[in-house]
Symmetry: C2
């Protein structure tokens, strides 16, 4: 669809612009100018600034890890705590917080972005956690994964209250009890 070199320049442009002026400062015209690309070239592949940013973020995350990795030391409780701590760290990192919120916001209105996020980010993550739970003998692993992540997203997205140091341990404790593993 699009030339690899073009994609690379556009990705670099959207990431640098987002880092400089936040998501609110992203426009198709701005991205095109920074990338040295025509607007038509952008519209040929992406439908909105959020779609461009999402694509760049996904490519970046794939470069880094290749696959979604869930800790698996044999100690389920410890693994889940590590996981929750990592999630909280990423969600609250000022560098990524705004970008993730922007993608989440766009996900609410643009169905294409929604299914892209689900297919390439959230889905694999949920499946990986569910697999980890299933391997430990949990009965409803999908529901367990949702029970683990739901409250984290809830607190972060809706800004109900800050995360505390001791909450993840207590939360994992409750989740394990919920799935009959305490």
């Amino acid at each position: 669809m699009a030339r690899a070199s073009t994609r690379a320049r556009v990705h670099a442009a959207v990431l640098s612009l987002a880092a400089e002026s936040g998501f609110g400062g992203l426009t198709m015209e701005g991205i095109a100018a920074r990338a040295g690309a025509g607007k038509q070239t952008l519209y040929r592949t992406w439908s909105s600034p959020a779609a461009v940013l999402l694509d760049a973020l996904l490519e970046q995350s794939l470069d880094a890890s290749g696959e979604v990795a869930i800790p698996d030391t044999g100690d389920l409780r410890a693994d889940l705590e590590t996981l929750v701590h990592g999630m909280i760290a990423e969600l609250t990192d000022p560098a990524t917080d705004r970008l993730l919120r922007a993608v989440t916001a766009e996900l609410q209105t643009d169905p294409a972005v929604g299914s892209e996020v689900l297919d390439r980010l959230l889905g694999p993550q949920l499946r990986a956690i569910a697999d980890r739970l299933a391997r430990a003998g949990v009965e409803c692993p999908e529901d367990g994964a949702e029970l683990l992540l739901g409250p984290v997203f809830h607190r972060w997205l809706l800004r109900t209250r800050p995360f505390t140091e001791d909450w993840p341990a207590a939360h994992v404790e409750r989740v394990l009890r919920a799935v009959s593993f305490g």
Copy 2:
């Protein structure tokens, strides 16, 4: 700040426009025109179409109920199931789904909308649930309320999978077990 009659006309305008063309069709100019108001009048009180819509929705919900009411029949399990069913029904109602998503999206970028939602909608709801849990003798009622609502929002917001008929009962079952009430 603003005259009551003006507020009423603006609220009616934003609700009718949102019902007709969805949230995407909301603009300050459009709302002002429909309400027969000057743009300056809108900007004097609200900062964005989302803020206007939120204000209208909040006023509407206050008119209807006056206070946040949580079922309290003495049967905790039944009450929570009623609550979850009601939430799912409201979240998935086509008439409100898009509006709630729009407000949630705006909540990610506009801090003013965020604290407004928290103060007048989410906060009271969470507190009411936590109170209900506390009355039943649950130890960490705030965490319990979060455990109950988090997965519901998670599934709805991120569109991971549809709600099924039997999920609420199983979910409440797990939450009660998590807070040592099963």
